[in-house]
Symmetry: C4
Subunit: 242 residues, 4 copies
């Protein structure tokens, strides 16, 4: 595997982008969590969100330019394009924080299982937090809306992502429902990953016995090889004798 | 594998049938989405739906006639029979659009994983759209019905297929409940496919190590073979010497 | 495997017990579905239910007596004991109809996959029907009960077994909640079986390639064997020459 | 594997800790289930809960001291730390009863499948019982709370852990919602374990055929070895002849 220019770009921009996602998160979350924020700070947050968007747009453009097969790159990174091009999907940019988790993760744990578990659980926490923010932003103040505080939004996000869906809180606006759909998909993925991890762990245990069989096969063949070498030596000695 | 007459028929009718399913979809969806459609257009849509039904009935009959084991074919294609024979199940005919996806798919992607992912996600979109249409058709205008607009119907379909089931919208008519049952089954299948894909991917990764063991075995056996050929050459030279 | 006396008993009583379960089902379902049934028929149904119970009790006792390890048998067949001993769990006796499905199944299909699919789907249909009956029996007439017709009960059973749980219908009595718990467990099992079947099918496809590797190994080893036999023949001819 | 001092400590404290968890459970459950308990008994229960907490705190401290890598131990046993340090999470201490199940389990069953099934089902029962207690404790008496009796709490816990979530009962307090989140996670784990067990069982059945192939390989290689030994004997006899 050779590292392309795209790989180098992505490695170098990993930290700055994760950092700007964190700044974006703060500037995005503050006005939502603090509805009575004074005008000056609210304006500052808007500008910060805009600046972070600029950075993401520059990064996306650079990656398209650096890619070997540009159309292929665009088609395989549609969520990135959507997060940059559609203002309503801007919370998706926060998913870059998951990349940050990946970086931190690389240092924190050693086993593959631990890494997958830590990665999935931190991603779920980020997704729930971001979805609750976006939902609160979409619903608050609408007539008949049942999600009016951040606590309610987090509670709703958790009942949705686990597919429990009590129905005591649910979105009533179109924007809020779009957030809900994203969260439901994340929920199905979550159930899938948890189940699949347990299944692969169980199956790997069963597999241990099979690996033993294969190693026994290898030992048997090695024994055969030793015999053959002895036979060749005998034959050569025989030929030399005569 | 020899291609039977049935195979040839199915390959040839793939595109025309997918096309007539698309026309059927338009003629089925329009009066539902536009309740105030003038009588003339409404009549035209009814005739188109009827014409499409005729095509499907002809195709089904032809496939039964061409099959080698007719009873076996009928028993293994009960949904096709139901979609043709029962007017209430006519939305099932739209599932042929999924066949269209399969055809397009064959061109668009190259990897097996990409193909499965694209196929599942497009099928889910078609199923949700068709179920929302059928649900709206069944529920609208009924007393106490909570699904009165297409937006509500799509939202209800998504909360159902993901098994979240808030309960803010649910069908109250028998026809609407039948559509819901189909959608719930699709939801269980969706969770199953997502989980199974992740599991098989995880297991395949674990399996890579095993494949290495097997290839090592093959290399060992090839080395044995080389030795044996050398020994045979020695023996033959020996026999020639004498 | 030797057939024990218990095996022979179970094979011989398979059909009579499935038949008496069918009769029991009719006698159990009729008064529930027809609340205005006249006293005479209602009494006849009660007597039939009692007679079927006697048969099941005799069968259970006979199986305990015929078992080699009686305590082990009782501990591994607790649901059978519960269905016989606890009147509230008598709907469990209807699960013997699933055994009937198994018998019919043996004749109807040939492939393992078809058999599993048919078995699971018929079991789900039986479980939903029986649970709807038991639920209607438990809830009807209670204050605040939302399940008052058989149609509602079937709809509720389906939303429960798929874990969708809209919440438009739910049990309010203790007996009704016990039925619901059984149905939820069946739902989790259903999701598990569907997912596991898809996963094992996907994995089996991946496995085909591996089986090829193993067969290649076998062919290589067979080639080695042929070489060795040739060498032995050469050596023997050599020894005979001298 | 050598047994460390930590292992010995954990083996020796297994029974006393499970016992004190049982006592803790009684002293925790009694005032919740009996709201009209007289002051004296209520006080006794509080003291018992405090004493059990002391035992758990001592045990946790001892395990940290005895661990080889203390920081590693603390990071990998965060739930234990939380259960000891945060009063609101004290129901987590009851999970030690699951350890008791493990001990009893070791005696009761012989097959791996039976053990997993028994372990999962008893854990689910303990988790539902403990969650219902904690939920009732958190919700009872609050304005608008819908969980006011133990029966309701158990019913709610079961609808939550199976992810059905009718929405007829749901928590409205922050403490109650925290308990619900724990229960939803347990529900996802439950679905995961059930599905994964079925999948690994199905796959193991498919695998049986493969194991046969491997054993055939072993037999083939053993036959090769026999041939080689014969050839060596021939060669040696040959060399001795001359």
């Amino acid at each position: 595997m050779t590292t392309t220019r795209l790989d180098r770009w992505e490695r170098r921009t990993e930290w700055p982008l994760a950092g700007s996602a964190a700044v974006f998160l703060a500037a995005y979350a503050w006005p939502i969590l603090e509805p009575s924020l004074v005008h000056g700070w609210r304006r500052a947050c808007e500008i910060t969100v805009y600046a972070a968007w600029l950075l993401f747009a520059v990064d996306y453009t650079a990656r398209v330019v650096l890619a070997d097969r540009r159309l292929h790159f665009v088609l395989h990174h549609l969520p990135d394009l959507a997060a940059v091009a559609l203002p309503v999907l801007r919370p998706l940019r926060l998913l870059r924080l998951i990349a940050l988790i990946r970086v931190l993760n690389r240092r924190a744990t050693d086993s593959l299982q631990g890494r997958v578990a830590l990665y999935v659980s931190s991603s779920v926490v980020v997704v729930i937090f971001v979805a609750a923010l976006a939902e609160l932003d979409a619903e608050r103040g609408h007539i008949g809306a049942r999600i009016q505080t951040f606590g309610d939004a987090v509670w709703w996000a958790i009942t949705t992502v686990t597919t429990v869906g009590y129905g005591d809180r649910y979105p009533v606006t179109t924007d809020g429902r779009l957030v809900a759909v994203g969260l439901m998909l994340a929920g199905i993925a979550l159930i899938g990953v948890v189940t699949a991890s347990i299944a692969s762990w169980l199956i790997a245990n069963v597999r241990a016995a099979e690996a033993d069989t294969e190693h026994a096969l290898q030992r048997q063949i090695t024994a055969l090889h030793t015999e053959l070498l002895e036979i060749k030596a005998l034959l050569k000695a025989d030929a030399a004798d005569r």
